[in-house]
Amino acid sequence: MSEPIRILFVDDEERILRSLAMQFRRQYQVLTETDPRRALERLKSENVQIIVSDQRMPQMSGTELLAQAREIAPDTLRILLTGYSDLDAAVDALNSGGIFRYLSKPWDPQEMAFTLRQAAEIAVRQAQPSAPLAMLQPAPLTLLLLDDQPQTLEVVAEFCVAGGHRLLRAASLGEAVALLNSQVVDVLVSDLQLAGEDCTPLLKSLAQAHPRLLSLVVTPFRDTQALLKLINEAQIFRYLPKPIRRGLFDKGLQAAAEQVQLWRAQPAQVVTRLAQPPRDEREREKVGSLLGMLGRLRERLIA
C-alpha cells in the first residue's frame, strides 16, 4: 500500500477549509492552513502532492503562494480556487504558478472530486520510482508556429536559430494537423485565431492526444473565461498577451525547452498534464473529430 495522497487546502475562510476537509478526508490525507505563509512553511518540511489555494488572502495572494510553492516543491500539483474571475490573476497563476487547474467558487462538489482524482492520478504516477535521470545533452527541439504576425515569427525564429531548433509553420489548421501527423512537435506557439479559424479545439485536442506537447498561446484576446478553459481543458503552458513582451516570451520559450528536455529524460508514463474534457457539447464534438484526424499521431505515441 502506497502512501496516501496529501492535499493542502489554503483559504483565509476557515469554513471553506472545514467543508473541503470533511468532503475529502476519507479519500485523502487533508491538511488545511488559513495563512499562506504557514502553508509555505509546511511545504518545506512536509510532503504534499496537491495544493489548492484561494486567491485573495490578506497576507499573500494565491498566485504568489503557488509561484513560491512551485519553487519549494516543484512536483506539487497546484490548483487555484477563487471566487473572483480576474484575468491578471489567472495569467500569473499559469505563467508563474504553473497551475494545473483554475477552479471557481462556488464549486461543484463532483467536479472538485473529479479534478482532485485526476491530480492524484498524476501524483501517483510521479511517485513511481523512475530510472535515474540521464543527463542528456540539450537536443534540438521542433517548434510549430501557428501565427502569421511578423513580430511573433521574429521572436520564435530568433529563439530557434540561437538554440539550433527546428521551426515549422502552418498557415491553416489543416496544414497544422498534417504537420502534427507527420512530424514530432515539441512546442506549439499559437494565436487563438489562425486564418480566421479558431485554434482552441486543436489546442484542446492536442492536450489529450499529445500531453507532452507544450502549447504557448500568444494572443490579443483578454477574456478570463476563455483563459480558464485553456488552462483546464487545453492545459496550456503559457498565456502571453499581445502585443508581445519580448522578455516574457523568451522566458516562456526557454522554460518550455527546459521542460521538454526534462521529460525526454523521464519515462513516458510520467506525464504531468491531464486535460479536462471540454464542457461545451459542440466543442467536445469538434475536439473529438480533431482527435480522429490526429489519430495517427496518437497511435505513434502509444506504439
Binding site: E13, R18, S19, R56, Y84, K105, P106, W107, P109
Partner: protein
Amino acid sequence: MTSASALERLLRPVAPLLPGISIADVADRLLTPEHKAFLSLPIVDGSGRPVGLVSRSALQDIFMQRFGRDLRGRHPVEEVMNPAPLTVSLDTSLEEAAKQITAQLQYPITEDFILVDARGHYRGLGTVLDLLKAMEARIAQRNLVLRKALVELKESQTQLVQSEKMASLGQMVAGVAHELNTPLGYVQNNLQLLRELSAPLFDLAAAQATLADCLNDPQCDEARLAQALQTAEQARQDAAPELLAEDLAQLFDDTFYGLGQIAELVVGLKDFARLDRAISEEVDLNECIRSALLIARNNIKDKAETLLQLGELPRIPCAPSQINQVLLNLLNNAAQAIEGFGRIHIKTWAEAEAVFISLQDSGRGMPPAVLARIFDPFFTTKPVGQGTGLGLSISYKIIQDHGGQIRVASEPGRGTRFLIRLPRPQALPLQRSA
C-alpha cells in the same frame, strides 16, 4: 467660400462717377430715388479704379454756405471728394471686412464703403447698415450653433456622469457577487455533505423500524428476527450517529453562518443603494461608512486593514446613496493606491457647525502636479480604459451640492488623506451671519 459670398451679398451696384463730373451734377444724382439709400457716391478713374467717395454731407456743407452752389457747383467733384475712402476687397471675409470698416469708421457716419474685386477694380458700394445687419445675422447663427453645442455638451456630460455611476455600480455589484461566492461555496458544499451524511440515518431508521415490526409481530420467527437485528446493527455502525453528531453540528453551524453572511451582503447592497428611500433624509454618516465598507470589503481585504474611529455624529440631511458613492470611490482609490499591504484609517467627528469624515491611506501618495488636478473631470492616472477620470470630480460635485467641502492632502510615499466636511443644518444661519 461662404464668407466671400457674404460680402457679395452686401454689394449694391451703383454707377461710378468720373473725377471730372461737377459738384452740381453729383448733387442731382444724389437726389434721384435709386441713390436715396446711399450716403455717398463712388468716383473712379479711367481704368475703373476707385479714387474717392463724395458724400452727401460734404455737398451739404457747400450748399449750406451762402451762394455755395453758385460759387462751386461747377467745380469738379474731386475737389470735395474723400480721396481715401473705405475700400474693401470682395474676397475679404465678413468678419475681416467688419473689422477693417469699424476700425476706420468715424462719427457721424457720412460715407458708405467701396467694394473692389481682386484686381482693385470698382464693383459697387456697400452700406454700413447692411454690414451691421449681416453681422447680426451671423452672430445670431453662431449663437444658435453654440446653444446647440451647449445642449449637446450638457447631455453628454449627463451621460458621462451616468456611465461613471454605472461603472462604479457595476464594480460594486461585481465585487459583492464575488464576495458572495465564498459563503456560497461552502454552504453549497456543506448541503451536499449533509445530504450524504444524513442518508445512512434514514437507512438506520428503516432498519430499526423493520426490527420493531418484527418484535411486535408474534409470528416473526427466529431467523427473521436475527436478520433484522443484524441489519439494524450494521446500519447503526454505518451511520455512526455518535460520530456524526459533531460533524453535523459543525456543518449546520457553518452553513447558518454562511447564510448569515450572504444575507448581510444582500442587505448591505440594498442599504448601499438606498433605492427604496427618499433622496434626502436625516442620515447617520457612520452608517454610510459601514455600508460602504461592507460593499468595498472585497477590494480592500487583501490590500489593507481598516481602522475605524467613528465619533458620535448628529444625523444630517443628505442623499445617502450619493454620499455612499463618494465613500466607495474614496475607499476603492485608497485600496488601489496601496502597494503591498497597508492601512486605511477612517475617522469621523462633529463640531458645532459641521460633521467631518477623514479617510487616510498609507498608499503611494501623489506628487503636487497630480494632486492639483485630481478633482478635474477626465483626469486619471490609470491606464486607458480603466478609469473614466470622473470619480473624484463627481465626488467633489456631490459634496459641493450638499453644501460641504472635500479637501485632500498627500505626500508621495506616505499616503493620502481626504477630508470631507458636511454642514450641520442649524449651523447654516450662523455661517451666514459670521
